[in-house]
Structures are given as C-alpha cells and as structure tokens.
Symmetry: D2
Subunit: 348 residues, 4 copies
Amino acid sequence: MFFASDNGGPVHPQVMALLAEANEGHAMPYGADALMDEVRERLRAVFEAPEAAVHLVATGTAANALALATLCNPFQTVFCAPVAHIHEDECNAPEFYTGGAKLTLVPGGDKMTPDALAAAIAREETRGVHGPQRGPVSITQATERGGVYTLDNLAALARVAKAHGLPVHMDGARFANALVRLGCTPAEMTWKLGVDALSFGGTKNGLMGVEAVIFFDPATSWEFELRRKRGAHLFSKHRYLSAQMAAYLRDDVWLTSARRANANCARLADGLARAGAEFVHAPEANMIFAAFPRRAHQRLHEAGAKYYVWEGQLEGTDPDAPLTARLVCDWSVTEDQIDRFVSLVAQG
Amino acid sequence: MFFASDNGGPVHPQVMALLAEANEGHAMPYGADALMDEVRERLRAVFEAPEAAVHLVATGTAANALALATLCNPFQTVFCAPVAHIHEDECNAPEFYTGGAKLTLVPGGDKMTPDALAAAIAREETRGVHGPQRGPVSITQATERGGVYTLDNLAALARVAKAHGLPVHMDGARFANALVRLGCTPAEMTWKLGVDALSFGGTKNGLMGVEAVIFFDPATSWEFELRRKRGAHLFSKHRYLSAQMAAYLRDDVWLTSARRANANCARLADGLARAGAEFVHAPEANMIFAAFPRRAHQRLHEAGAKYYVWEGQLEGTDPDAPLTARLVCDWSVTEDQIDRFVSLVAQG
Amino acid sequence: MFFASDNGGPVHPQVMALLAEANEGHAMPYGADALMDEVRERLRAVFEAPEAAVHLVATGTAANALALATLCNPFQTVFCAPVAHIHEDECNAPEFYTGGAKLTLVPGGDKMTPDALAAAIAREETRGVHGPQRGPVSITQATERGGVYTLDNLAALARVAKAHGLPVHMDGARFANALVRLGCTPAEMTWKLGVDALSFGGTKNGLMGVEAVIFFDPATSWEFELRRKRGAHLFSKHRYLSAQMAAYLRDDVWLTSARRANANCARLADGLARAGAEFVHAPEANMIFAAFPRRAHQRLHEAGAKYYVWEGQLEGTDPDAPLTARLVCDWSVTEDQIDRFVSLVAQG
Amino acid sequence: MFFASDNGGPVHPQVMALLAEANEGHAMPYGADALMDEVRERLRAVFEAPEAAVHLVATGTAANALALATLCNPFQTVFCAPVAHIHEDECNAPEFYTGGAKLTLVPGGDKMTPDALAAAIAREETRGVHGPQRGPVSITQATERGGVYTLDNLAALARVAKAHGLPVHMDGARFANALVRLGCTPAEMTWKLGVDALSFGGTKNGLMGVEAVIFFDPATSWEFELRRKRGAHLFSKHRYLSAQMAAYLRDDVWLTSARRANANCARLADGLARAGAEFVHAPEANMIFAAFPRRAHQRLHEAGAKYYVWEGQLEGTDPDAPLTARLVCDWSVTEDQIDRFVSLVAQG
C-alpha cells in the first residue's frame, strides 16, 4: 500500500525491455544515439510541432530549472503559484540556474487565477530598474495538489502572460495525468494556448528518471544545450535516457499509464468517500487530499501503508480528530492495494 | 571497432540484472532505498573509511562540480592541470557550481608536478584581497591522457596542497583503471595520501550513469546533499542509481571490468607498436595516443572504426603523414575488434 | 519642496569640508588610509563593540546584499517583510550576491510580528532537503513605510530567530532616524538584542554615498572583504569613503541630522493633519504616507513639489478623490519649504 | 614620493569644485540628474558617437565586470592577457558578474598578439558543447605593465575577434594615458577599430571614484542598467558621480591630467636611466618597471618613498643585487618628488 508519491513505483516493463534492447554494443554518446532521433520525431508528432526542440534530462527539477534559465534573465522574476514545485521543492534550483532570478508568488491556491496573475504582474511594473523585471509565467499542470486546469483556465493565464510579452512555461511533471483527464491533444494543452516551453514528465509515470524539455520555438535550443551541459545534466550514455522516453511514447505507454494512475486514484477516492472521508481538493488526476479520523490513520500505519499525513499529527489523544492524508497513485498500484487501504479506513 | 570513448559501451550485464531485480514494487525515494544502504556500506568497506560520506549522482561532471562547490568558496581558485576535464570538458560547470570560482591551470602536461603546483600556489599568495584566494587542488587519476600518477606522485602533490591548508579533490572518472594499474588499495590511493573528496567513477566502466562522491571527512555531507538537490541532481527514483553502484561493487565487477579495459588497451598498444605506431603518451591505463600514417586512418574510417583523430586531418594529400589517434578501450571491447583494428593499421 | 526621498538632498557641509581636507597629497588605497582607522574606532565606540568588524561600501544595496551573502548560504532563505528594500527595491541583488538564495516574505505589513516570523520559519522546517534551508532574518529599522520597531518588538523578533539558530541582519538605511526616535543607544538597538550584522546607513542622512557594514562578531570579516572586492565594491581611493563616514560620526552630525529630519517630518505631519490629511501609517521617523484630495496634489505639482503619489492617479476627474502621498524629509529640508507645502494642501 | 599607484593621489581641484557646486539643493536620484545629461552628451561628442549608451559606476572593477556580463553568457569564455586586471586583480568579479563564465588566458605578455589570440580562439572551437563557447575579447589599454598598444595592434586584435563574431571590450582604466601617448582621437582608439564596449577610466586620473561604461551600440543599455542595479552599483545620489565625470570632461581636464602623468613618468624614467636603472618594460605611459640596486631601494624606503618592489626582496645581504620597482605616476606627482626619488637612486 504505497501512496506516498508517484515516484516510488517501479519502471514500466516495456521501458525495462527497451533498456535491455538498447544495451547492445556501442553507441555514440551525448545524444547522438539513434533512439534520440526516434524520441525527437515522436515528440514532434505527438505535439504536432515539427520544429520543436526536444531535450532529455533525468530529473524534473533539472527540466524546470533549465527551462526557466533559458527563458529568464537573472534580473527578472518568475510568476508561479505559492505551492509550485519550483518554489517549494527544488531547494532554490530555479534561483541557482537562472543566476539569481526571483520567484513571485501569485496569491491563491494551487491554481493561479488570471486576475491574480494579472495583478501580480501589474504590481511588478511600477518600480523601473529597482524591482526585478517581469519574466516567465510558470504553470503546473496537473498541479501540486492534484488539480487540473481546464483549457479555458490555461488559455486565460497564457493570455495574461502574452499581454505583457512574457513567456509561458508549463511544469508538466504530471502532464499525462492532466491530459487524459481533459481528453484533449497535447498541442491543445500547450502551444496552441501559448505555452512556450514544457517540462514533459516521465519519471512519475513509469520511467526510471527521464523528462523531456520541449521548446516549441527552437531558437533557444542551442542555449539550452549549453546550459544543460554546464548544469552537468548532459548524459554521456545518453541512449539510456532515449530508450526510456522512446518506450514511453511507443504504444501510448505514457497515456495508458496515466489513465491507469488516474483510475486508481478515482477508485481510491470513491472508496474513501464511501468510508466518510472528506476531500480538501476535489480529485482530478492521480492525487487526493482526504481527511479521516486519526484512528484510521493509526490503523493504516500499523498495516504498513505509506503516505504523508499532510495536516495533523499521527500521534495524539483524540482518536476521532480528522487528519488529512496526501495520497498519490501511480500506474502500478493494484486494485487490491487500494481496496485494502479503503477497507482499513472504512473500519471507522 | 569503437575506440572513441569508454562512454560508448554497453552496461555490464550484472548491472542490468540488478536493475531488473530492483524494479520490484515500491521503494522510498530520494536515497532512502535499501540498496543505498548497501552501497554506502560497501564503499566504506572498500575504502576502509567507516565514517565516509557517500553520495550518488548520475554524471561525472556533476560529481566533480558538486564536490568542488562543497570544497571551494566563490572567491577562491581551483588548481588543476591544463587538460583537466573540469577545465576543458565541463562547459564552465565548476565555475557555475562554485558560484564563480576560478580555475588556475598549473603549467605542464596531463600530470601536475609538485614543483609546478607549488609555484602556482605561491603565485596566488601575493595579491591579498585582489586576487582569488587559494582553494582546492584537483587531481585527475587516471589522467585525461591516459596517464596514471604513481602513489609517490600523488603523495607529493597532496603534501604541497596540505602545506598550504588546501583540500584535495580527486577526479576519479577512471579511478578503477588507475587503481588496478597501480595494484594498491583504494585507501592508499586516496585518503591515506591526503585526498579529501573523490569523484568515484562508474559510468566509463560499465554503468549506465552513476558516479559516487565520497568525502572522507563527513562534516560537509549535509551541505553536499543540499547542493546536489539545488543542482537538480537528486533522483527521486534513487534506487536505480543505487542498484547500478551496488552491482558495480558486488563481486568486484568494477575491478574486473577495469582490468579488462586496461588489458584491452595493452593488447591494442602492443599491436600498434608492432605495426609501427608511435605513442605520444606511454600506455598506462585504458587510453592511448598513437601516431600512424594517414592512409591507415583512412582505411580504418572506411571500415567503420570509431575514434578521434586527435592531431592532424583525416583528409589530406600526403598518405604517409602521421596523424595521432586517441584510442580508448572499455571493458566490452573484444579481442577480435582490437585485432581487426591493428591489422588495418598494419597493412601499412 | 523636495519630499520624494531622503536621497535627493545635498551632502552635509561638514562632510564636504572633511572631503576637501582629506584631499591633500597621497594616501594608501583600498582602506589602508588613516581616516578608516578613525572610522573603525569611532563606530566601535558608538556601538560599545570594541571587537566589531567595520567595512564601508558606497550604496545601501551593497551593504545589504554583501551582509546577507556573508550570513547566508545559497541553499537557504532570508526572512523579511514583504515590503523590505531587499525584496522590492534591489533588482535581485540579494539573490545575486548570495548565489541564488531565496527571500521568504513574512506575511504582514512593514513591521514583522514575532508570531508571523515564527510561523514562516516553522513552515520552512518541514521539507528536508527539498525546500530551502532557513537562513538569516532581515529586519528594516526604520521600516520602508517610515515605521520604527520598539526595542521590545526587535527583541521579540531576534528571540524567534535565535531560537532557530538563525542570524539577524538589520537594514539600517535609516538607522539614525529610528535611533533618535527611540532615544536608546546604538548597542541597545542592535547587538544587545541579538543583531549580528548591521547595514549602518549614511547616504540618506547627509552623506554622498557611504554605508557601513558592521559585524558584531568579526569572525566573518575577511570573508566580507573578499565578497566586497569580488562584488567590485572595494574603492581604491577609499579615503573619500572614510572621510564621509568620519565627518558623519564627528560632532554627532549623524544624530543631529536625523533629529532634524524627524523634526521636519513631524512638522509636516502636524501641518497636514491640521489641513485635514489622513495618515496611512502613523508618523514615526522621517517618512509619512498622507491622503488628501486630488486637487491639492495637482496644486502641489503645479508649484513644482517633488514627491511620489503612492496610491491613486494624479490625473482624474474627481477633484475630491483622496490620493496618498509618500513624503520623506531629509535633514536639509527647510521649515519654509514644509510650510509652503502644507499651505498648498490647506487651501482645500 | 608616492609612486605606489595612480590611485593614491588627490582628486583634481576642478573636480572638487564641481562637487561643491553640485551640492546645492535637491536633485533627482539614480541618474536623473542634470549633470548626467551633460556627461552623456560630452562623452558622445568626445567619442563622435551620438548614439552611444553611457553609464557611470564608481570602481574600475565594476566597469569591467558589468561590461563583460552584458557581453558574455555564463557558458562562454573571455579572452584576455594573463596579466589582465580582470584576471589578476578582481577577485573573480568577472566570473561572479557573468554568472560563471571562464577567462581564457592568451599566452604571452601584457600585450596580446593577434596570432596568439587567434590560436587561443581556435583552440576553443573544437569541443562543441563540452568546452565553453567563445565570448568577448578584452583588451587593456594602457596595459597592466604600462604598455600602449598601437592603433595597428588594436585593429589587428579586433579583426581576429570580429572574424569569429566576438565582441571586443576595452579595459581603459588608463585610457587617457594611452590616448595622449598615441595622439589619436578617442573614436580612432575604440569603435573605429571595432571596440564594442569601453571601461573609460577616471579614478586613476584625478577622480574620486568614477568610471564610465560606454556601449557604442546602445542595444544592451537597458540590460546594463539592470545589471548595474542588481550589482548594487546604481548610486542614489548619482549627481556626485556625474559631477566628477563632468568636471573631468570640461576643459579637457582628463587629457591635461593624463599628459601630466605621462610627462611625470617620462621625467622619472629619464632620471632613472641616467642613474643606471634598467627597464623591464619600455616606458610608454605612466608606469615603469625599473631595476636598480638593493641599496638604492633601501635608501628610498628610509626616505619614505612609496612604491612596490615587484621582483626581489628589500631585505637581503647583497647590496648590489638588482631589484625591480614598479613606479606609477599620477597627474599630481611633482617634479620635486620625482627629482628627489631619482637623486636617491643616483647616489649609487
């Protein structure tokens, strides 16, 4: 019963298979491998973007920080939600990679609103050389709280950015989970709305550790290459990154896995709802925040369930006190595990 | 016939096997996996250093740059050979990770001499606040030209550093190749001589992409962890790094592979010597620089051999002109490939 | 009628006189001038801190950014008020000088409360290696809105910082204005409360461009020297910085000037109150925020008064609409200018 | 007898006079002062560059580091002489301001040769993404050893840079000394040859602490403004920088002072030559390196002469041993002081 994160699960068997297959003989290093050509073409096709620049890195933080560094000068500021991964969970990597840019937190929850974004941007307009200059807008889809922006939401945010000439970055660590939720095309969720650069996640959805960074305008592609190398994120044995991403894209593994993760989460949410849990954020992708009594949490912990108690303390005197769990499902969670988890909560 | 680099070869089968084995169920992310415990204990045992701090990263540049950033302030300078990887092949990663420290090139070839090092350090003593302050000494073992420092060489360099209170970093991207050449223990080649931090290479010797960074004094271990995360080099699915390094250490795979790489190179060197080639650097580990006539190079290229023409141009009118090849053997090169290469040169 | 800032006024005549006097013959550069010895001794005496390290720089931003860089690692975060100069008015200089540290904005107004500070610090405790580590607390005294923390306020904030082992920086660009308001000693407002490093302002209070950075524990003094040089803030002709600061400290010029600035502001506030203006922030030092009708603003602008309309637009159709002015008095503003300004407002 | 540096002398009386004059009433801060308009127009006229962007900073290191940061990406390298101030005397400020760019030292002495520069640039061409990319060429005129490049020398260097599309920076801390030596126009020594950005020195030639940074193509002017502010080098009371530079340019104070400094140095060199001294570098501007016996040095030191013994130790047993002095003349050195210095050497 592992619901701590979608980064705790195994690698998809088709990925392991292609890694094994790719492990034949010698290959040119540093991205000159044949599988990278396949990856590039597949991603361009998936995104209907035949000119897009495609790069692979091994961590989501690298994807975000390098993408932002390419879009943002050190005297600028990045607009993002207060709970954005780039702000909360990257130990200042964006500040490091951009050479000291700032992050401006747009007031609100996990989903920025166009009005709040517009106000935050307007506020940074008034101080000339004294304040940081306005830089990229970074949108997380799906969000850090498991939410999914609608296409209208995204389009409205991008319009605000574009009205000020600001580039738009999408942190898509859970891109696939959002995409299958919305049922739209990758192009519709990105460049057709105004997204300039995308961190296209794979690690949380069945890879060992690969994310693509996609620039829909390839003009800064070479700069990205240099920043990736300077950041020590260029792999010599690059074929093993390529193989992961190629397997991910072949046979729609990425979509199938995301559908399964979302379905797992929906099953969990349904079960917990029936068991009386209350949801802080409505379930939209593969992550939920559910409140239920402390005694149920204690029961789960005794049974070895892994997840984060997000609000409240497991230890405490009031067995009825509601504690909030963050529960994340990856593609590999089984229905048995979900049902067992639910039944432990349902015991009251 | 792939002699372009030791980063073009396949992953060792025992590594692939443990990756597959590790791919069962869920594991705690970010280094809290059980295999990391094994790696830490094995490396401490191998180095006879029960307190050493052990961290894994995925690229050699990350290992070097993060190790140096931990040892070096931004107003200092790192002493290294002019051909050091950290100077020539990391696109300013050390400057980036240290926050703008300088690299002082110690005049000479691929092996620094104690006298040249002492003179370079002395030269940085005279300018007070105006010049950079003296920082770590970084030694590459084996060197970028395939050379191996003797233990006496290393000890003398470390003594110079220590006389000025400077920390010593060893870039051990080819640590194993040097070690088996010298036939000493890992401790003898590192902390017993005064090495403070080691980039312990794995990628060039059969891994997919893992290097360990070892601090023999663990005091800065937490700082390293933060710098690694900030540099986007902390893997969520860390177990796959751990598995590679664990397989590398089990059954002496790392030593066996290095011995084989060195033996391959010796066989190649012997053959080329018989074929009349001349060596720029004497063969000591798994890399040689050999000069032979242009027509032999052209013959090799037609046959699909992969390697770098280090000096001279493949195209040219004088078929007898000697061009220098850089030839690197990894563990996976076969005797057949070597012999075929030699025979193509030997045709005159 | 110049109330736009306290950086628009002339240099105090005693400062000009000492600059002229210091301009005799040659002097050793880079801080080895005799006047710097005087400055060091005077500041140590003023602060009852015989061991304190004293350094001069030419801008307030340099003082803050270099002080913070000395106190803060790049993987940490600085706690400050949302309106802090270091956040709003330094174009990412703290991020630049610290190598990419973050600024955590403590919710609230210009004065941080101990509770809000404690909550902000607590919030940064929970994410291990993922979030930035907790770094210095930076307190602005007097604040960016003209407020003055009481000694109790300051002590309570410092206690929160110290409870977490965090260093305390005070941005004292208007240190003298706060000090004379409180009527305490410099020691009481700084190290006796727990302040570790102080940006001791001079520029806004009659100097041409000099601020002192004082570390009450001199252990990091040499690091500061190196960071100052690296930041290009070490003056070769340092005697002209020393002369300014020496003149400032001689004959209590700094205190007399601050008293005069505060008195000017009080006179202005009294006059505006009588004229019906309303104050957003109660006048405490030399800066006020006063709301009065648009037509009075228009009258002032026609008369050439210089100040910022902080809220609202000068142009507009409703002459009665209240607009907020930010009004800052330096030591050189005359009673005539103040009275003329007030009379223009009082005309209704 | 102060020959330690040209940064030890007093401020020119016409500069002091204009500072006093500028100290009337209030002025708009941050460069919006009227004297800055005068400075801008005067420099554009002096350089026959009506579109040039002109900025003032207070230190030569700031001028160089900010100019280079504007011209150079963090993944590039700056080409300069091994003795360049930016390499030897700025404590890594260029590395800091550029965000971690490298400096490539062009082999040779204080004057780069076009061949050596071309070879150094060619060498950085071969490593693709692995090495740093080629960035600006920085030329020091006059050099750190008192040399002056001819216009032909400069043109040849610039041609090499331009052949590779690289921008050219001139470190003109002693620009005026070189200019009056060559007897050419400022335009001829800069943009007509291909110089893109100039650090136009004032501090060593009679100012308190002001240098101009001039971009002949103003496209990056706003970026420079932001980098200057972020580097904490924007002065609030900017009028005092403007006043210095305005006085410097009025009445050709800058040229007259430089001529006097050079004439002082020539008189010193002539006297020393007659006294038997030998010159390491031929005197060309206002700095010489002269070797004469230890006993003469000891005599000078007893008499209070200030200068650096560049090679050799003042203390020693052989009174005849030749030690090399670095001797720098500023505009304020008197003939009496020079003659007294010479006579002390001439005593044998």
